[in-house]
């Protein structure tokens, strides 16, 4: 197993409240965005399942299957409610 990749995760809205933080730098062995969310969900007890979220990597909407790469900035997007 390779060494963990260092990434930055930002949290908004309900995820921010559940994580108790707005962002963090962390090292992860998760291979995909999907795996990373499950890892963090285990750590913080997020109520929302992955099917209800989207993921933004480096300010672009992306796929759950996208590989986690060193230096990524990642945001999990809860169901939105603008307007």
């Amino acid at each position: 197993m390779s060494a963990g990749r260092r990434v930055r995760v930002q949290y908004f809205a309900v995820l921010r409240e559940e994580a108790g933080r707005s962002e963090e730098a962390l090292s992860t062995s998760a291979n995909t965005m999907g795996e990373l969310y499950e890892e963090l969900r285990g750590r913080y007890g997020f109520g929302l399942t992955r099917e209800r979220l989207k993921v933004v990597v480096n300010e672009e909407f992306d796929e759950w299957s996208r590989p986690v790469r060193e230096g990524d900035t990642i945001v999990f997007i809860p169901p939105v409610a603008g307007g």
Partner: protein
Amino acid sequence: MFRLSHGPIDAGACRARLNDPRAGGCVVFEGVVRDENEGRAVLRLEYEGYESVAVKEGEAVLREALEKFLVMRAECVHRVGTLEIGDMAVWVGVSAAHRGAAFDACRYIIDAIKHRLPIWKKEHYAEGDSGWVNCQTPASTGARKHSGEKR
């Protein structure tokens, strides 16, 4: 142009940006904070945005409207922060030579803004509790059911 605003939206300034001598009509949508949602009395709202991506996606929505419909100008401002009942949360305006395109484009924009931009809304209820709209889970909801938005 799409903007996020941390203070009150200046509707007059927004409207002035739609002016064009070729324009025969403007359609404007203003979303305001209501005193109830899903049958629960609401005291105030907090809007939170992932600002860089919200602006990028908002600009994309306006570009799409200008491509899809025969309109001249399209503008949108969305407020973030704490809002009281009656405060304006979003302003959308479109000008066009003919009114049909202006109505269609304005509605396209507000629908897309509501569904695609990473902006969240926390409602504070008269009964003292609060909740993130559309984000309820079995754990967060408890006995009371107030999830889903019908708008």
